[in-house]
C-alpha cells in the first residue's frame, strides 16, 4: 500500500507513515483546504503529513472519513510495517 521507507516520513521524522500528501494532491487540495475540511490548523496538516505528529484516533478517523477510506488505507500500521 505504501512505498518507500516505512519508518521515515518525507521530513525524516519517525511518525506513523501516511498517504495524506498523496491523497490531498489527488484531489487538488492545498494543506489549507484540507485543514479547513478537518477543522484544524494548516500547521496540524503539515505536521501530520511530514510525520512530526501522529493524530489522535478521532482525528485519524475523521481524516479517513473525509477521503472515504478506512484508517489503514491512510495510515500505515506500524506493527505490520516492513
Amino acid at each position: 500500500m505504501l512505498d518507500g521507507n516505512p519508518r521515515l516520513s518525507p521530513g525524516g521524522e519517525r511518525g506513523v507513515k501516511n498517504r495524506l500528501r498523496v491523497l490531498r494532491a489527488e484531489r487538488g487540495w492545498s494543506q489549507q483546504d484540507l485543514a479547513e475540511r478537518l477543522q484544524v490548523s494548516r500547521q496540524s496538516v503539515n505536521a501530520i503529513e511530514t510525520g512530526r505528529y501522529d493524530p489522535s484516533l478521532p482525528l485519524a478517523f475523521k481524516i479517513a472519513d473525509l477521503f472515504g477510506l478506512v484508517i489503514e488505507e491512510v495510515f500505515e500500521n506500524p506493527s505490520t510495517a516492513g
Binding site: G12, E13, V40, S44, A47, T50, R52
Partner: protein
C-alpha cells in the same frame, strides 16, 4: 500562522488578568506605602496580586481545555513543560548559589513573569525548528 478562536479568547483573558495584576500590585504598593497598614493588612496586600497570577494560570488552563486543534494544544503543553523545566532548573541553581552566599537575594515575585518569558521563547524556538523541518521536507 492562523490563530484559533480559543487563542483569541486566551489572549484577551490573559491581557485582562495581566492588567488586573498591574492594578493590584500598583494599588497594594501604594496602600502599603501611604497608609501604614496593620500586619494582617500588609499580609493581605502582599498576597492580593497573587490572585491575578492564579487567574492567569486558570486562563492558561482554560485555553488548553478550549483549544480544539489537538496539535496546537499539544505544542502549547510541550512548550509549557519545557519552560517549567528550564525555570525549575534555573531557580534551583539560583537557590544553591544563594545558599552559598555567591549571589544576592533573587526576589521570588519574578518567577511567574520569568516563566511567561521562557514560555514565549520556547514557542518561538519550536516555531523556528518546525519552519526548518518543513523547509527540509518540501
Amino acid at each position: 500562522m492562523e490563530i484559533s478562536p480559543a487563542s483569541v479568547r486566551f489572549l484577551w483573558r490573559f491581557i485582562g488578568a495581566t492588567l488586573v495584576y498591574g492594578v493590584l500590585i500598583t494599588g497594594a504598593t501604594w496602600v502599603a506605602r501611604n497608609f501604614d497598614p496593620s500586619p494582617a493588612g500588609l499580609i493581605a496586600l502582599s498576597i492580593l496580586p497573587a490572585i491575578a497570577i492564579a487567574a492567569s494560570l486558570i486562563v492558561i488552563g482554560l485555553y488548553l481545555i478550549e483549544e480544539s486543534d489537538e496539535y496546537v494544544r499539544r505544542r502549547q503543553a510541550v512548550a509549557m513543560l519545557v519552560s517549567i523545566g528550564i525555570l525549575l532548573t534555573l531557580s534551583t541553581a539560583l537557590g544553591f548559589l544563594q545558599q552559598r552566599n555567591l549571589i544576592g537575594t533573587v526576589d521570588l515575585l519574578w518567577v511567574f513573569p520569568a516563566w511567561c518569558v521562557l514560555w514565549s521563547i520556547t514557542q518561538c524556538s519550536m516555531a523556528i525548528r518546525d519552519c526548518r523541518r518543513a523547509g527540509n521536507a518540501a
